[in-house]
Symmetry: C2
Subunit: 153 residues, 2 copies
């Protein structure tokens, strides 16, 4: 299930950058006929290797100027505690990323906000309301250096 040749990797690399490229142009750039290329792409998609295609929206253009990294500690690590927290955090539209972590804090979140007042609202209405939370630590991003969706192939 997990052995890709050079052409598969080319297809993935190109689609990472240009997700809406036509199959015809993709085929030409990887050196296959359009039908052969289409078939390989179909396999990559159906196997889940390519899990989807997404438009990238400019956060700035949408007025989301603020990115906040939030560390959260819970009152315990029982499965039920974690499950309830995770179900709740998934409902917050401003939480882009959430990982269960090793170390001092239990979870790390990446939260998008329009401005400080917007973040104050999110903190009050969503983050503070999450179940089993005992500590919240917010760090504000001053500038974005890198933000890419995938590791370079």
């Amino acid at each position: 299930m997990n052995s890709f040749d050079a052409i598969d990797r080319s297809i993935m690399r190109i689609l990472q950058d240009r997700g809406r490229i036509s199959n015809a142009e993709l085929a030409e750039r990887v050196g296959l006929s359009p039908s052969a290329c289409s078939r390989r792409l179909d396999i990559l998609e159906k196997s889940g290797t390519i899990s989807g295609y997404h438009a990238r929206l400019s956060h700035a253009a949408l007025d989301y100027k603020m990115m906040v990294i939030v560390h959260i500690s819970l009152s315990g690590q029982f499965a039920k505690t974690l499950t309830e927290f995770e179900a709740a955090v998934k409902l917050c539209p401003n939480v882009l990323v959430c990982y269960l972590m090793s170390g001092e804090y239990d979870y790390i979140l990446r939260v998008a906000a329009k401005d400080l007042a917007d973040y104050e609202r999110i903190h009050r209405d969503w983050l503070s309301a999450l179940p089993h939370v005992v500590k919240i630590n917010s760090g504000f991003a001053l500038r974005e250096i890198i933000d890419k969706p995938n590791v370079g192939l």
Copy 2:
């Protein structure tokens, strides 16, 4: 430049989830003729509101099973120090995200690795080699709860 109506928002919402949808289907789902829809999409792209389309590759399928959050402190905050660090960090293919932060640490990084040995290599060859670094703190993600590219519209 920044006033979108309900149809624009629908277009963006749909393309966030299905970046490779055809213009014909997109038009039908937002209730426009294909040509009107195409014209709106063109404006959204040319204005930079939609900054690109990207295939999402399954990290697991590519053997990147490990996600590490790295906090880094530098020896100072002079512009030259930051600029040199940032130029260097951009060269590391495993660093997916890097933000300049307020607070205890200067930068936060999100690093993808195949396994612990791979992360050891990245830490030794890339992270420790970054200029002006005085402290590195690595936290390992145990499980991914949420990872979406954009805030819900």
